[in-house]
């Protein structure tokens, strides 16, 4: 239960940051939006997005990690996975 709540919270925060950084009108973007094709992000927009996500969630997102992300769902899964690892390590 706690895990799905965390997942929902991460998802909402990622979508909110993406909406703000990419200046998307009409509410948060869809989770399966492609960063480049659907949201029109260029390489500098992606840098801006990942910097904002680092500020939002702490830590750093490596170049290797960002290369594997094509949709917002990929971003949410990366951050959720990382938060899960962090929670497990602290137990």
């Amino acid at each position: 239960m706690e895990s799905s709540e965390n997942q929902a919270s991460v998802e909402a925060r990622v979508l909110s940051v993406a909406q703000e950084v990419l200046a998307i009108d009409g509410g948060p973007p869809a989770l399966d939006s492609s960063l480049i094709e659907d949201l029109g992000a260029d390489s500098l927009d992606l840098l801006s997005l990942f910097m904002a996500l680092e500020d939002e969630f702490g830590g750093t997102i490596s170049e290797e990690e960002t290369e594997g992300m094509t949709t917002l769902r990929d971003v949410v899964e990366c951050i959720s996975g990382r938060m899960g690892e962090k929670a497990a390590a602290s137990q």
Partner: protein, 455 residues
């Protein structure tokens, strides 16, 4: 082509106000926000001076900035952009949003190719350079020290010693991928050009304390010569870093005010007891210059006319003013010549007036030689301290407002003048038709602007 050039908009970010009306009102009230330097700077060095004039933190909501802009621009660019926005708005050129993601605007009804940006700065994005250099230098090594600290028993000598050291080794969370475009001095003028989609000349003058004056002077000539119809001109500076190293640089050169025991009276340009300049955290000043016919054609508010500019170089010392003041004198006479004016036409001088022993003496002597003792003289640095690359622009703004209001602010803390000149000892209202504002800079640069009440 030689056209008349007028000032139609003003913008400012300063320690006594971040809009022109508030700033001017505080100038006339003699406000001077002297405060102790940040306490943690004392962990890194001993200083002769211990006061400064601090800015309010940048408020992204008030400045209209996105989180992306806040994270990818040096504060010197951000405050310049806000000052430019003010100047455009009060000149009646309300920017229109054209790109929400970039948060960029266009000037409705204005050909962007006929607008130029002429900005000055002394140290550009030094704040961003130092912030990111701290990450480069410390992040790995501090991590190793932190591991050692954690491995030691808390009663151990190593643990007790390392704790305070680790606290002092500050660095940001990451090396910003935009570091280069934040630290380059031309980022300030580029930021304004990008923000308002301006496509004419876009240049940065790095002339230390004369940067703002030089930029406005070159903008004046560009409008006068028909290169552009509008010029966003001025200066911006942000002189802060976590470790106080920028402050230390000026302090160790013995340029800063000493008698800090009485902070409110320490900063005293042109007084016999002056001891150096009050260090400012920074600021920005913008004058929107415009071809007179264009301004009249669109019914713009005209605040003053720019009529003359000149610049000279001492070739004497990189750090100190030439004692004979001959190149300052030549600069003044060339500025008068450029304005087709005589020294008797100048009613008011907004002096460089830093409060250092050498500057104020040489400047006073040259003023007396060229203008005599009747011209009214004050120093805006007596209120807000020295904003280096922004100072000339902020002082030009004060000169415009003084001509417009026919009133000058007082030269604060001037109790015993070093010479018998007509210093403004209190807020003075008197008829003023023309004024000179001038700046002298490390390196040996001298620059001056002649402004006239618009009629």
């Amino acid at each position: 082509m030689s056209r008349r050039v007028v000032v139609t908009g003003l913008g400012v970010v300063s320690s006594i106000g971040s809009d022109a009306a508030e700033f001017w009102s505080n100038c006339l009230a003699g406000k001077s926000p002297v405060a102790p330097i940040p306490e943690h700077w004392h962990a890194y060095a001993d200083y002769h001076s211990c006061i400064w004039a601090a800015l309010d933190p940048i408020d992204p909501a008030r400045f209209g900035l996105t989180r992306v802009e806040m994270s990818q621009n040096d504060p010197a660019s951000l405050i310049a952009g806000y000052a430019a926005r003010q100047a455009l708005s009060n000149a009646g050129l309300e920017p229109v949003l054209v790109n929400k993601r970039a948060n960029s605007y266009e000037l409705a009804g204005v050909d962007p190719h006929r607008v130029g940006v002429y900005m000055g700065t002394g140290i550009g994005g030094a704040n961003s350079f130092l912030d990111n250099y701290s990450v480069q230098m410390l992040s790995v090594q501090k991590g190793k020290l932190a591991e050692l600290y954690a491995s030691q028993h808390e009663d151990s000598e190593v643990h007790r010693s390392l704790g305070p050291i680790l606290e002092c080794l500050h660095h940001g969370r990451r090396f910003n991928p935009f570091t280069v475009s934040m630290l380059m001095p031309n980022a300030i003028s580029a930021h304004i050009g990008l923000k308002f989609s301006i496509k004419g000349p876009n240049v940065t003058h790095c002339v230390a304390c004369a940067s703002g004056t030089v930029s406005i002077g070159h903008a004046f000539h560009a409008v006068r010569d028909g290169i552009v119809d509008f010029a966003i001109s001025g200066g911006s500076e942000y002189l802060d870093d976590h470790y106080g190293g920028i402050f230390h640089g000026f302090d160790i050169a013995k340029a800063l005010v000493r008698n800090c025991g009485d902070p409110d009276r320490a900063n005293r340009p042109f007084d016999v007891d002056r001891s150096g300049f009050l260090f400012s955290q920074g600021g920005a000043g913008i004058l929107l210059l415009e071809d007179l016919d264009t301004a009249l054609g669109r019914g713009a508010p005209i605040l003053a006319e720019v009529v003359g500019y000149s610049e000279t170089f001492d070739a004497h010392s990189v750090m100190s003013i030439a004692p004979d003041g001959l190149q300052i004198e030549r600069m003044m006479r060339l500025a008068l010549h450029d304005a087709a004016m005589s020294h008797t036409d100048i009613d008011y001088i907004n002096a460089h007036g830093t409060g250092t022993q050498a500057n104020d003496l040489v400047e006073s002597e040259v003023i007396e030689r060229v203008f005599g003792r009747d011209v009214l003289v004050n120093s805006t640095k007596s209120l807000i301290g020295h904003t280096i690359g922004a100072s000339g622009a902020i002082e030009a703004l004060v000169t415009v407002m003084s001509l417009d209001a026919q009133t000058t602010h007082a030269c604060k803390n001037l109790e015993e003048p070093l010479m018998d000149l007509n210093f403004a000892r209190e807020t003075v209202s008197r008829p003023m038709q023309a004024a000179l504002t001038q700046s002298f800079a490390f390196g040996g640069h001298n620059a001056g602007l002649v402004l006239k009440r618009f009629a």
